[in-house]
């Protein structure tokens, strides 16, 4: 597949709508996916991510809108006439067929020569790291191994598009992290255009070239994992991806907000907001600065109301002295905690870096 980023997209989704009775699961979704990309559909359950995946596969055809794959309009085609491989959350392995028969299931029906098929099956099993498991039956394998078999089966016909529907969510944490890397590496190697549906933000951030954040049938944001994390475009994305403080504040002038009786500088421009408009001031807990806070801007005094140990860091619950009813969550590194000798109940100076602050309208929802 030629890499034609910037050119014609491999998969083009145009204003796709899906209604179930009166309920709109997808409300006019448009998206371009390029050849060789790994795109994650991320969102809470019921956001429409699986519905969109099933529309792309033709399993539940959309009510309106078009889908083009490799220049071909596939909008109304039945699944058997589309070009994709799919892995379901349940794997849907045929329990009465051996691993080899599962992987070769689609090959056999193409009436290939027996030896050719056996060679291909062996190659696929080798590829997913299960070279000698062909004779076993799926229920004899662990969850992670079943997952690999499902992946090998989906790739057997060398599809142009690989669809993964929550493929890792049935596995325990350790296996999940391991398989995440493997799938990622395999996808890189094969350069197969891949869509991964997940509700696990960590999975999306670590694996995806681009993340598509969905909510209530619409796309909230599309971007690289870093864009999504650093520059969320809506309060929903800010809240759903990672941890975020939503602090009650008020717009003042250009680049200035009022929070807890203080005036803070904010790098983000927000020209549209009249002074006095209620806003949410957003900041990730790990961006709260405690070391050398005094030398920086946007500094205030707060009391450490509570400390929670997370292994890699401490999470502090800060109460600004000027506004003790407001809670600011902050992550402090173990080093900082030791160096500054911080304990619950201590008074501490913290800074909110201007370039990390983001602002959303108060009614934007998602404020915690």
């Amino acid at each position: 597949m030629p890499d034609n980023a910037g050119g014609v997209p491999y998969l083009r989704i145009e204003r796709v709508t899906k209604s179930f009775g009166g309920f709109q699961a997808l409300k006019g979704v448009s998206l371009d996916i390029h050849a060789g990309e790994l795109v994650c559909f991320l969102g809470p359950s019921g956001c429409g991510k699986t519905t969109l995946l099933r529309a792309i596969a033709g399993l539940d055809v959309q009510s309106a809108g078009a889908i083009h794959q490799a220049g071909r309009d596939i909008s109304s085609l039945p699944p058997a006439e589309r070009d994709f491989g799919i892995v379901f959350q349940s794997y849907a392995l045929f329990p009465n067929l051996s691993v080899a028969a599962n992987v070769g299931y689609g090959l056999v029906s193409r009436r290939g020569a027996r030896a050719e098929i056996a060679r291909r099956v062996a190659e696929l099993l080798q590829m997913v790291g299960l070279p000698d498991q062909g004779g076993k039956y799926p229920p004899q394998l662990s969850g992670g191994q079943q997952q690999r078999v499902a992946l090998a089966r989906a790739l057997a016909l060398s599809p142009g598009l690989l669809l993964l529907d929550e493929p890792l969510s049935a596995l325990d944490a350790r296996v999940r992290v391991h398989l995440r890397h493997e799938i990622h590496a395999l996808q890189r190697r094969l350069k197969v255009t891949t869509i991964l549906v997940t509700h696990d933000q960590e999975e999306a951030l670590t694996m995806a070239d681009r993340v598509v954040v969905m909510n209530q049938g619409v796309i909230e944001q599309v971007g690289t994992p870093e864009e999504i994390y650093r520059r969320p475009v809506s309060a929903f994305v800010a809240d759903f991806v990672g941890r975020m403080n939503f602090l009650p504040a008020e717009a003042m002038g250009v680049g200035r907000v009022r929070f807890a009786g203080m005036e803070l500088v904010c790098a983000e421009s927000f020209d549209g907001l009249a002074p006095g408009t209620a806003i949410s001031l957003c900041l990730r807990p790990e961006d709260v600065v405690v070391r050398g806070a005094a030398e920086r801007g946007n500094v205030f005094e707060a009391r450490i109301a509570e400390l929670e140990f997370f292994g890699t860091h401490f999470r502090a619950e800060l109460r600004p002295l000027a506004a003790p009813e407001t809670m600011v969550a902050a992550d402090f590194s173990i080093n900082a905690m030791q160096d500054l000798d911080l304990k619950a109940g201590d008074k501490v100076s913290v800074a909110l870096p201007a370039e990390r602050l983001r602002i959303f309208p108060r009614d934007g929802g998602g404020a915690a």
Partner: protein, 568 residues
Amino acid sequence: MTAIAVGASAARSVRARIGRDGWIMRGLLLLLTAYLLVTVAFPLYALLRKSFLDKHGSFIGLGNYTRYFSDPALAESLPNTFFIAGAGTIISIALAFSYAYALSRSCMPWRRLFRGIALVPLLAPSLLPALSLIYLFGNQGLLKSWLMGHSIYGPIGILLGEVFFAFPHAVIIILTSLAMADQRLYEAAIALRASPWRIFFTVTLPGCRYGLISACFVVFTLIFTDFGVPKVIGGQFDVLATDVYKQVIGQFNFEAGAVVGMLLLFPAVISFAADRIVQRRQVALLSARAVPYEPKPDRLRDAVAFVFCLLATVFLIGIPGTAAYASFIKYWPYDMTLTWANYDFNNIDTQGWAAYANSLILATWTAVIGTAIVFFGAYLVEKTTGFRRMRGFVQFLCMVPLAVPGLVLGLSYIFFFNDRANPLVFLYLTMAILVINTIAHFYTVCHLTAVTALKQLDAEFEAVSASLKVPFYRTFWRVTVPICLPAVVDIAAYYFINAMTTVSAVVFLYSANTKLASISVLNMDDAGNTANAAAMGMTIVVTSAVLKLLQTVLLRGLNRRTQAWRRR
């Protein structure tokens, strides 16, 4: 590279194109619909229509009904039937509940054996317990004195026979609902120091109340519409089922037969509808995380349970046992020497053993064809995508036979198939119509067995095979059928045994060449050859028992062979 959410107003609406698989499945579904219409819906319509027509085929409204109810002798059967069904239901449910409770809530020995014994009545036509009761309590009965002057020919005999006949059906349903008990509820009740009685009334009973209600409906309908027991032991005590038979076979009064048929259909339809509602509630009661209940030993309770089950076993084994014994007796009760003579059917009846052979042929064809239609039909209903209304309609047609008593179905078949205007009239009085009728008669239970098995399969098998460009019928054959083989065996066995034992529907449809063993029992008894009737009944029981055994062995073998992949 960017995504824009745009209002859908301008977007072109899409109709999914139906692929090759889709067309094939739809075509087959239409074929199934046509089949069920012809074998279930149309005959019932013919019956309904007939009940409003006179002998010459002109419409007379409710004329047949008013004539029926104005005949005092006939109108008496209605209260009689309600009395028998009501009393029979109360007794059977009380006994069946105690039995099922003992099986599931005690640690008495022999529980597996008792469980099997409860199902013994299913192996025999309902004529057989009535025959045994005559041997025990009839005019020449060994235990006649036990009745203290009362006659077995009448309500007492009918009730005893019906309780035996309905018992296994009630036990199966109640056992299932008792098995769904959640151990944690009992632990919570004990932790709150509730007394055993309080636990029984606040945990056990509410937990299985839907099963109890369901069992009541099923048993009531069974007894209300049963024909075999009152036919043999009813004497002068008429019930609706024997009325239909007398009107149609005895007097060729088809119109009156149609009226009684409709009367039989009503309570069955009502209890069927009520049962569906109850079943729906029962599902909502299930919790996925329930811990199955396991009883702890309790000497007194286990002893009581054991004695009760032992007594029930005397009844359950004693009744067919009596028939078995009587079938070897030369001349009950005067010459009790043992003989094989009663099994020499060819001496009694021109058909003789041929009737038994016919039964085997019917049972085999019904099992083979019926299982194929039911299982593939259930697959189509469950796995076809789209075509929702059609699937709903087929699903409904599949449920109808459960509400139709055998006598009513048999009668409907006369009206529908013995009609010169019907191109299928050539089927009338052939073995084929017996097979078709028996398949339709027991369709629902088999359909539900198949649906339950299919629902346990991963819903995405079809999607996966479509993505691999494998046609659905290949996956059906390579994956669906092998996984569901135990259910397929169960369906085939159920069909076979019911085809062996059924009397009610086929009694209207057999011909001289297609007489069945169960019909022979009826005819021999009618002719006064009771010992031969008992002997023929025993051939049915033995055949059913052998098949049941075969089924068990087959399932065990299947289980062993597929151990590698079957998770149990």
